[in-house]
């Protein structure tokens, strides 16, 4: 086993950290407070290659790997979880399914602009009545000969209000349940496609989470992604990879909270001593550090397995389950270590604690991860 990052991965971390500390961190509190999508930084991230990491250069990607991508989401999320999930949803949930299931024409048409960040991507699976039960899709796609006609709606769509390209699941044959779902590439501006309600959330307030509404939305025939009836398979495979992104986001949040708490403990004095000199609090930090590192190793293993093209479903589920619970545990503890100040918006740990919670819910709840892991333990 080799626990060393490659030279490339080390440099990606250095570069993203510099970018995150100089450009992302200074506006993170405002982005949260104003519920503002950080468009200016997303544009810069595209120019610097952060929105097309694990894809080949021929298609406009950087030729990097999934571990470098995980590190990127981690470092962005270390200072701003909203910025982290913008990168994650775009890369894992939109670029990847087009790259993996798209035909040559689809790849040539969509990937160069997506991977260079000229366009932003999103993914539409969840519906008001189809959350963890993703098979219960209501959105319909009818074959109209020269086009598909989509009707229905999607909710909780990350990047919804700012994306240009959407990978959307819809029922092409309801009688076949999950085997009757197909996936489509939908562009912003298609007739009959609109953005509905924007969610007012507890955390990741800089991330745009919206409803997608399809009312007799005409989708060109050639925008079917994969074969008819493959939609559920496309969605599940996409989410296997997406979990690495969200796990990395959770890891970044935990590491960020840990780092600011460490600095706080070095300066905060009570009873004539720094918090950093009090043994029980030092032990708290030792525990947090161990949990964070354990999460990191699970994530890096899953990403390395994806890079090695070996099955990694249960491993990414374990990484996501453990990292998201770690993020919640660590941020809660970090607020406690800050005392009353931690509960105020003068310090970033309360934001980090609010941001952490979503990682236990989206792209598969903790319970959904346990389903995947249990199935690998007991057989299906």
């Amino acid at each position: 086993m080799d626990f060393q990052l490659s030279k490339e991965q080390e440099f990606v971390r250095k570069m993203v950290r510099e970018f995150a500390e100089n450009e992302v961190e200074p506006i993170a509190a405002d982005v949260d407070k104003e519920h503002r999508f950080p468009e200016e930084n997303v544009k810069k991230m595209g120019e610097l290659g952060m929105l097309g990491i694990p894809f080949p250069k021929e298609l406009g990607g950087t030729g990097g790997d999934n571990l470098a991508y995980a590190i990127t989401v981690e470092e962005l999320s270390r200072v701003c979880a909203s910025t982290g999930v913008i990168c994650s949803a775009h890369t894992s949930l939109c670029c990847w399914p087009i790259f993996n299931f798209g035909n040559d024409e689809q790849k040539q048409k969509y990937l160069p602009d997506l991977l260079s960040g000229k366009k932003l991507g999103a993914f539409g699976l969840t519906e008001p009545n189809a959350g963890t039960d993703a098979g219960g899709q209501q959105t319909k796609a009818e074959d109209k000969g020269d086009h598909w006609l989509l009707n229905g709606s999607k909710v909780f769509i990350t990047n919804g209000g700012y994306a240009d390209v959407f990978v959307v699941m819809a029922m092409t044959d309801k009688s076949k349940r999950t085997r009757g779902i197909s996936s489509f590439i939908v562009e912003k501006g298609y007739e009959g496609f609109s953005i509905g309600k924007t969610e007012d959330k507890m955390g990741i307030c800089g991330s745009s989470t919206t409803e997608l509404v399809f009312q007799n939305c005409k989708v060109p025939k050639e925008n079917l992604l994969g074969n008819i009836g493959d939609g559920f398979k496309v969605a599940m495979a996409t989410l296997d990879g997406g979990r690495i992104g969200i796990a990395s986001q959770a890891l970044g949040i935990a590491q960020g909270a840990f780092d600011v708490t460490l600095e706080y403990m070095k300066s905060r004095r009570q009873f004539g001593r720094r918090l950093a000199d009090m043994e029980s609090l030092r032990f708290d930090m030792a525990e947090l550090k161990t949990r964070i590192d354990a999460a990191r190793l699970l994530i890096y293993r899953a990403a390395s397995m994806k890079d090695a093209h070996v099955p990694y479903g249960p491993e990414s589920a374990m990484a996501k389950y453990f990292a998201s619970e770690t993020a919640m545990y660590v941020t809660t503890k970090c607020v406690q270590l800050h005392g009353g100040y931690g509960y105020t918006k003068d310090y970033p740990v309360e934001r980090m604690m609010r941001d952490a919670k979503i990682t236990e819910i989206y792209e598969g709840t903790t319970e959904a991860q346990k389903l995947v892991i249990a199935a690998s333990v007991f057989g299906k």
């Binding site: 440099f11 570069m15 952060m50 950087t62």
Partner: protein, 267 residues
């Protein structure tokens, strides 16, 4: 015709993280991260800006240091430089500024022609600001130090720079080939790009020793050939803070100044 730029860069300890050994009075370098010297990053950025505007520009970064200084060159390539060379050899170790400029000037000559050499004003570890100017003397080209603003004519033959001095500025027109040293006010260095990192790590970075450079370890480079050596490092005692005199009129300020100077027996 391709405009050839050589950028000189040095890997230095991150002074934000550095501590001084209280007994030996030397820098504690152990465990201190290494970074691209700030002023050198400004020099590279200005070269990259020329390349942005005039794509037929070739940038080579030259550094001297231990083998791990290759990391700094990878960083420069990932920012957009075309090529990088490292002068590294046991025989070069312990070089003072005179010996270092001998080695780097030799490396620049070995590279072949150049139109512009851009270096940082000084390195944050030694703070000498000597290597750039010494190189220019040895290569026999004109030099301008402390460059704050830079403009190159379209024919790429003349450069106009604003030179920042303690008490004002100089506006200087200089012909290429020449040597300039950059200060941090010149620009804001760009980030590496992810794609640039993957290309940079894959690139071959030649390492040149004393023999490749054609320099004599007994007379030109290394500890023994260095005419100076560090006698002692110490933290200077901070000077007292200045006093701002304020009053309603210039006359009152002048009065206060006179009283102050007299009380200290300056006048």
């Amino acid at each position: 015709m391709t405009f050839k730029i050589v950028v000189c860069a040095k890997q230095v300890p991150d002074t934000n993280e550095i501590k001084i050994d209280p007994v030996k009075k030397t820098l504690i370098r152990e465990g201190v991260p290494s970074i691209l010297n700030h002023d050198d990053a400004n020099a590279l950025e200005e070269a990259l800006k020329i390349k942005d505007k005039y794509p037929d520009t070739h940038i080579t970064v030259v550094s001297m240091g231990p083998p791990q200084a290759k990391d700094l060159l990878i960083e420069c390539l990932a920012m957009g430089a075309d090529e990088a060379v490292l002068a590294s050899d046991r025989a070069l170790g312990g070089s003072d500024t005179w010996a270092t400029s001998n080695a780097i000037a030799a490396a620049v000559e070995k590279l072949g022609g150049y139109d512009l050499i851009f270096a940082g004003r000084q390195a944050i570890d030694g703070d000498t600001a000597q290597v750039g100017p010494q190189m220019a003397e040895k290569l026999g080209i004109p030099q301008v130090t402390y460059v704050k603003e830079f403009e190159i004519a379209e024919d790429m033959k003349t450069i106009t720079v604003k030179r920042a001095l303690e008490d004002g500025y100089e506006l200087i027109k200089i012909k290429t080939p020449c040597m300039l040293t950059a200060i941090k006010e010149l620009n804001t260095p760009r980030y590496m790009t992810v794609g640039g990192i993957y290309d940079a790590v894959a690139k071959d970075i030649p390492v040149w020793g004393a023999a490749d450079l054609g320099v004599d370890p007994d007379k030109e480079v290394g500890l023994d050939a260095s005419p100076t050596n560090v006698y002692r490092s110490f933290t200077p005692v901070p000077k007292g803070q200045g006093v701002m005199l304020e009053a309603d009129s210039e006359k009152e300020v002048a009065d206060k100044l006179l009283v102050g100077l007299k009380s200290k027996h300056v006048i």
